[in-house]
Amino acid sequence: MSTPATNFNEREHVICQVARLVEDRYIYWVGGGGEPLSTALLAKRVHAPNLQYLTEDGVVGPEALVPFDPLMTMISSRANYRALQWATMNYAADIAHLGYVDYGILNTLQVDRYGNINSTVTGKYEGGEGRRFGGPGGADTIAALAWRTILMTDQQKRKFVDRVDFISSPGFLEGPGARERHGLPPNTGPWRVYTPWAMFGYDTDCQLMLQGISPFVSVDQVLSEMSFKPKMAAQLDILHVPTEEELIVLRTQIDVAGQTTDRGRWIELRDGKYMFADQ
């Protein structure tokens, strides 16, 4: 069953977009909570029953029991239920060093034209003038060592900036060859950025490229929520909306309390067109 949904919110939409990329035949390291973990939990229940993912605490291929108590997404008996292996953080990093992690899925506070990730500070770093955040956490390891990194964030001017205020985790840094010059393994790096409004890839110059938009926004709307003009793909995909099946699983099993999805605007199907409900 895959009936297009007629009513969903932005967060649900973006989680479903990324969940659809997740396949049984790859190994994923997902950020240990929020949207990234939700994409894996959703995919495993909808179309990838044998999905294997790691989180930072060194769990390998759990069959998580959802939902979780608030923040209990790692070092937790439900999140790590019936895994193939239980280890620790350095073990997860070893697995990623070896090239077993096909995809990393992360969210970010800020991303720039080269896919660099900021989760440390907005504004000026020195003297604590800027607004300070939590730091890279596990994202630095994932962004450096996974073959391909999928970023999730919101479509907002302050999140898409020409140069992030602080590179917490590496994108393509200053461009082609820069990762290798700084000791990171070759042929790795940013692959996609998903927002509720759009999907981005990268061109051969390692620069962010708009590749798809959601049916409820226009290209101009997307560009108006970026501080720089991205490269444009020759043809833009129109992203599929969530299916009813995906939403049922997401709402009734994974995010029952709305801890992850209960933010963002609602979209509805009106006269055959998807538009914001508040529009």
């Binding site: 930072e56 605490d57 060194g58 769990v59 029991l65 108590d69 608030p70 923040l71 209990m72 790692m74 070092i75 937790s76 008996s77 439900r78 790590n80 239920y81 019936r82 895994a83 239980w86 280890a87 620790t88 953080m89 350095n90 997860a92 990093a93 060093h97 440390t120 770093y125 003297g127 604590g128 003038e129 800027g130 607004r131 300070r132 955040f133 939590g134 730091g135 890279p136 956490g137 596990g138 994202a139 630095d140 390891t141 962004a143 450096a144 060592l145 602080f166 590179i167 917490s168 985790s169 590496p170 840094l173 820069a178 990762r179 290798e180 010059r181 700084h182 000791g183 990171l184 393994p185």
Partner: protein, 326 residues
């Protein structure tokens, strides 16, 4: 003699790298012989956590962490601690806001108004790493080595504000990062089971409990259960931490409250949200008064603040036992 180039180096202070000094400490001060280390948390923190120490805790205040020991450290008003701030929600905020800590190696820490304020006011200096870089630094310390190589962290703005170096690998000729070892002055670690000597078992996943124990000059364990050494010997593969690394063993049932101890009890969502709320408001006074200063001990805390009903409830909400016993 051939040369290798150091291509870049972070410019931040870092805990002095001294594997020889650590070896000498281990020889002189670590209890090589099996001696009982049972004591209460007051005595353990009084003896083994000193002002100015570099402090590592494993896991965090919400996830199989040494929450009761963190509260005791605050109760005893330790000062000028330098914190290993990996994989953390509120522990750093609590320690900084309580005036115990003034330096943090980050990792990841729960943020909010408190941290920008602390940095701006110079109350707290931050050094930039990532979670796995910090656990790797601990691993280097736990291997008795001055450094380990790694293939992440290069090119970040954190690198420039760290103690890491980018060198030319003498084997491949390619650039590679080195991370400096850490040997913390003291580690506080919460475990499922330990004997009186400190042979300890952690069940399920973890962050870096074994690395913390092997790398740290002084080690305080808090444990849900005290078991016999015979029980430890019944299943030696389950020993996560060997006794000779350990200085104090504190029997602390529910020591991770309000956090989870997987297989033993669930987290207390209300307790978690209360602490997170204080952090996001940027005001821990009320939280510290209620959860730390209003009581004299962890036992007292469970009895007067948490209450038997809550403890029974979180125990019963943890229904999964599989994999969490020897």
């Amino acid at each position: 003699m051939a040369e290798m180039r150091i291509l870049e180096a972070g410019n931040a202070d870092y805990l002095k790298v001294d594997p020889d000094g650590y070896r000498a400490w281990v020889r002189e001060h670590k209890p090589h012989q099996m001696v009982s280390k049972l004591m209460n948390e007051h005595e353990a923190v009084e003896k083994f956590v000193h002002d100015g120490d570099y402090l590592a805790y494993d896991c965090n205040y919400f996830q199989r962490g040494p929450s009761s020991l963190i509260r005791e450290i605050i109760r005893q008003r330790r000062r000028r601690l330098w914190i290993c701030g990996k994989f953390t929600y509120v522990a750093c905020a609590l320690l900084v806001e309580a005036g115990c800590a003034d330096r943090i190696d980050i990792g990841f820490i729960g943020f909010g108004p408190w941290i920008s304020r602390a940095v701006r006011e110079g109350k707290c200096k931050i050094y930039e790493y990532s979670n796995a870089i910090m656990t790797l630094r601990l691993k280097a310390g736990a291997m008795g080595l001055p450094f380990l190589p790694v293939r992440s962290f290069g090119g970040t703005d954190g690198f420039a504000r760290s103690g890491c170096k980018l060198i030319e690998d003498p084997y491949t000729g390619q650039p590679i990062i080195l991370v400096p070892a850490i040997n913390p002055d003291v580690a506080v670690i919460h475990v499922h089971q330990a004997d009186e000597f400190g042979n300890a078992r952690v069940f399920g996943t973890g962050i870096a409990h074994q690395e913390c124990a092997l790398a740290s000059k002084r080690v305080i364990l808090s444990t849900e259960e005290i078991v016999s050494t015979d029980e430890i010997r019944r299943d030696p593969s389950r020993t996560s931490i060997p006794h000779f690394t350990v200085d104090a063993v504190v029997h602390a049932p529910f020591g991770a409250y309000p956090g989870i101890v997987q297989g033993y009890y669930a987290s207390d969502p209300a307790g978690v949200i209360e602490a997170m709320g204080a952090m996001f408001r940027g005001d821990f006074r009320e939280y510290l008064n209620k959860h730390v200063h209003s009581v004299a001990s962890h036992e007292d805390y469970l009895d007067k603040v948490v209450g038997a009903k809550k403890l029974a409830e979180i125990r019963s909400r943890e229904t999964i036992r599989e994999g969490y016993s020897a």
